[in-house]
């Protein structure tokens, strides 16, 4: 097919997506003007049917749609009625929030608030299954709202597109029955927990990375602890692995997020025992779930203790970034400035040096000789892609390569050091300079810059 056809198709797709978003906005504007969360379908006329006086508040359509859980002896019409009148705030429309939101919408929770401020990326979709190929590039709130609308149009969706901040957190959390922590970073986790303490809302907390997941319910009753009761001191930034660096098998947050939906349904409907004071640990590698009994609420906790310092008045001024040493996102770490500018080269300079026709030179520090590329990324990343001829010395095990480095130092080949984005390569370069190596430079921006500025065919991950 010709290019003009593709262009037209692309344009039509874009128009279609824009219209979907507009429909969703209008639907929300309409529903948010209603005084109460909707439990009856707009199309229904007031009726005097025999099931009206039974107290569950379910319409004929509700009964048909949710029949399989309504006929469940331990659930029933009353529990379904509570669910349809209930509300949940899901913070994060990512790997955890995707299955949580989908299952809660499918189960008929009356009103779902979604908090996120990111846009959908292709690398999200393996686990963030609420998003679609066609919504890559869209705001996650809009993308998720479309999926929910397609799954259960009776659910009222409220979008909090600017994310959760100390300024808006308590105001938003207050408007929901249950809060789901489906976030991806430590400062947001402390903020959500504190806001739930202040607003006295139960918090269904899930987390996942790699092949491991964690799940518990905080603030669900008098003896139920909060996040700070368990972790009064924030983990150090280097202890907080990010999905974008450490990787995650998509189904792992899928399982934890699904369990978060389950715990939320139990809390809203009043059915079952909430997972309070119990931490469920999933080890997907070993195929094992186990739970650990947790402490009770700490009387001295600054958020939920007997004399808390974090209150409705003080929370907005709390500095979560300072407390955790991290920005409230899971973006890449800030670029380091460990080296002097003359100890670094750009990817364009690297390209020029690699394509140098000079061949090897006998001068030990001849900068025109084609350099040896040392790649210090982890083995998994090196295995995805690397520059031709690159020698692999992962930074995490750099000490093992000292003899090789000393051998190289005795040779005549200049060395350039690369990693993914240019932080570890600076650390490695600094170490090599310490070892007395002369002709070593770091590549600014690493293989990401190489892919962006030199070789568009080089994979980004």
């Amino acid at each position: 097919m010709g290019v003009p056809f593709d262009d037209e198709l692309e344009q039509l797709r874009a128009e279609n997506e824009a219209l979907k978003v507009e429909v969703q906005r209008l639907r929300q504007a309409q529903s948010s003007s209603l005084p109460e969360p909707r439990s009856q379908n707009d199309l229904e006329t007031p009726s005097t049917h025999s099931w009206d006086g039974l107290g569950h508040g379910l319409s004929r359509d509700d009964i048909a749609r949710y029949s399989r859980q309504i006929i469940l002896p331990s659930f029933g019409a009353q529990a379904q009625g509570k669910l349809c009148r209930g509300s949940v705030l899901i913070v994060g429309a990512g790997g955890l929030g995707s299955p949580a939101a989908l299952y809660l919408a499918a189960a008929g929770v009356g009103r779902i608030g979604l908090v996120d401020k990111d846009t959908v990326e292709l690398s999200n979709i393996h686990r963030q299954i609420i998003h679609r190929e066609g919504t890559v590039g869209q705001h996650k709130c809009d993308s998720a709202a479309q999926s929910i609308a397609g799954l259960n149009s009776r659910v009222q969706v409220e979008l909090h597109r600017d994310g959760l901040t100390p300024e808006n957190a308590v105001g938003i959390v207050t408007r929901y029955d249950v809060v789901v922590d489906a976030s991806d970073n430590a400062p947001t986790r402390y903020l959500i927990s504190d806001a739930c303490c202040v607003a006295r809302k139960p918090l269904v907390s899930g987390a996942a990375i790699g092949l491991e997941g964690q799940l518990t319910v905080y603030c669900a009753g008098d003896d139920s602890p909060c996040y700070r009761c368990l972790f009064p001191e924030a983990p150090l930034p280097q202890s907080c692995s990010r999905c974008s660096d450490a990787g995650v098998l998509g189904v792992v947050p899928g399982i934890i997020g699904t369990l978060q939906a389950l715990e939320t349904i139990k809390l809203i409907s009043g059915v079952g025992q909430p997972l309070s004071r119990k931490l469920l640990l999933q080890d997907a590698w070993a195929g094992r779930f186990q739970s650990v009994k947790l402490r009770a609420r700490s009387a001295g906790c600054v958020a939920c203790g007997d004399a808390p310092s974090i209150t409705a008045e003080t929370l907005a001024d709390y500095d979560y970034a300072a407390f955790t040493g991290q920005a409230p996102n899971d973006g890449p770490p800030r670029p380091l400035r460990l080296l002097n500018p003359e100890q670094r080269i750009t990817v364009q300079q690297l390209r020029d040096r690699l394509s140098s026709e000079q061949g090897s030179s006998t001068a030990s520090t001849d900068p025109s000789a084609p350099p040896l590329v040392i790649d210090v990324r982890p083995p998994e990343q090196f295995a995805i892609c690397h520059l031709p001829g690159a020698e692999h010395m992962p930074w995490a095990r750099f000490a093992r390569f000292e003899q090789r480095l000393l051998d190289l130092a005795a040779g005549d080949r200049p060395i350039v050091v690369m990693c993914r984005r240019g932080n570890d390569s600076q650390r490695a370069t600094a170490r090599m300079l310490e070892l007395g190596m002369q002709s070593v430079v770091d590549v600014v921006g690493g293989v990401e810059a190489w892919a962006r500025d030199v070789d568009p065919d080089f994979p980004l991950y």
């Binding site: 987390a207 990375i209 491991e212 997941g213 202890s239 999905c243 931490l279 947790l294």
Partner: protein, 83 residues
């Protein structure tokens, strides 16, 4: 006598193993076991005590000193923040 140690999340990365077994004496406690683990796996110092420490699937108050017995299972559980 031996006790079993389970490592979760970041502690698993730092220790390089998901579990291990440590021989302890009658006088050993959860506190002396923690010190021993920090010697055996110095990388765990990064956690700086910021984890849930459990004995036989029950949370242990920080600083609590509980005698150990054969077959005990302790776990080091730092929080995961990803999602």
């Amino acid at each position: 006598m031996a006790v079993k140690i389970l490592f979760f999340a970041r502690s698993r990365e730092l220790a390089g193993v998901s579990e291990t077994s440590v021989a302890v004496q009658a006088a050993d406690t959860t506190e002396s076991l923690l010190s021993h683990l920090l010697e055996q796996f110095p990388a765990l110092k990064e956690l700086d005590g910021r984890f849930v420490f459990s004995l036989n699937h029950e949370y242990l108050e920080r600083g609590s000193v509980v005698p150990l017995k054969a077959g005990d299972e302790v776990a080091i559980i730092p929080p995961i923040s990803g999602g």
